[in-house]
Amino acid sequence: MTENHEEMPEGREPLDAVTRAALTPAAVRTATRARLVARARADGATRGGSGAGPVDAAARFGGSRVIIGGLSLALAASLILLVRANGARRDERTAYASRLSTLTKSIDSLGTAVVSRDRLLASLTGSEVRLVRLASAQTASPRALMFWDQATNAWTFIAHNMPQLGAGRTYQLWLVTAKDKISAGVFTVTANGDAVVQASYPLDRKALTAVAVTEEPAGGVALPTGTMVVVGAAGVN
């Protein structure tokens, strides 16, 4: 108990970091754990690949210790059960554990949904979000908005009334600068002609001149070749 970085208030004695760490309330630790799991779940959905990670290694590293610890715990638990022979309490505990597990899963699931929505909201409402309106270049009336969060380089494109495409065709989203036409991805639309596209691309704040959507062959193209469906000039924010 030697780690004292400040004069302690009355009644408070200096504690080392391990003890201060251990004093973190369980609710705080659990909340951090839940946030991590939710972030990982959201992140995992967008990640591919496989391979051994540190947890696998950790399992190897701590394997023997876990086995010894597990055997000790099992022995202790057996003794307690023999002495107390309290089956009812055990059943109750199992029921609570099951309920806790269910609730934890539910919390994790809700956390994932919240993270996803927070991300969408942030990309629409950030203080540095720039908005580009796209209007129709055809007789139909598709319309679209592009939200560009310049702080995070997140692009969120929302379109309505987009015409249905024929087989082998796709829509392709373009960020237009004075020098380039940069593909921000291909997309299809719902039966109602709606679409939401999210992309991440760093771009100089002054470089964007327009946002456009063209109709292209399935899979997209390196440079726009097809009919322009909607386009919007990027005004100064």
């Binding site: 080392d16 970091a17 760490a21 309330p25 946030r35 799991v37 992140d43 690949g49 990670g53 696998d56």
Partner: protein, 175 residues
């Protein structure tokens, strides 16, 4: 974890959270800052799971390395914002913790401390949490727990006494 299993991350957190938290708290004083950094440490571990090489060190040393690095980043940030004064001797000392303290930093000892805290009566532990985690004064704790000030003082004194005993036992084992 490298294969995207979030439960593996939860398992890693359960196993090493206390060790990581202690490492962070050696560098950062404020528990709220430490909380953010602890989360970021495990998040970085999740994101960089593929880079972990067990032949170059243990998971514990890998996590400690991340924790130290992220904590120092946060400390530099605080210094830039003027929240921490580098001229302060105490602040300087936390940047380079001593070897003896470093030796104490391992998951097993941390677990023993937590067990000692778990053995405290709930009201004593709560009083300590309010004092050290939320930074409340004894009067504020008394108000929050709807308990006479004298009772709070007694609880904290008894809790400290118990902790001292547990920690001196730890030191005895360490030598």
């Amino acid at each position: 974890m490298g294969s995207g299993d979030e439960l593996a991350l939860a398992s890693l957190y359960d196993r090493h959270e206390l060790m990581v938290r202690a490492c962070v708290l050696r560098i950062l004083d404020r528990p709220m800052d430490a909380e953010d950094v602890v989360e970021e440490v495990f998040w970085q571990a999740w994101r960089q799971a593929g880079r972990f090489n067990s032949s170059r060190g243990t998971v514990i040393s890998w996590l400690r390395s991340i924790a130290r690095s992220r904590s120092l980043d946060r400390l530099r940030q605080q210094i830039r914002k003027g929240e921490v004064d580098l001229e302060d001797d105490d602040s300087a000392s936390v940047i380079a913790p001593g070897g003896a303290e470093g030796a104490l930093l391992d998951a097993e000892r941390a677990a023993i401390v937590r067990r000692a805290l778990d053995e405290l009566p709930a009201e004593q532990r709560r009083a300590l949490e309010l004092a050290y985690y939320e930074g409340l004064s004894q009067s504020e704790i008394a108000e929050k727990m709807a308990t006479p000030l004298g009772t709070v003082k007694t609880r904290m004194r008894l809790a400290h006494q118990k902790l001292r005993e547990s920690l001196s036992q730890l030191r005895g084992e360490a030598t």
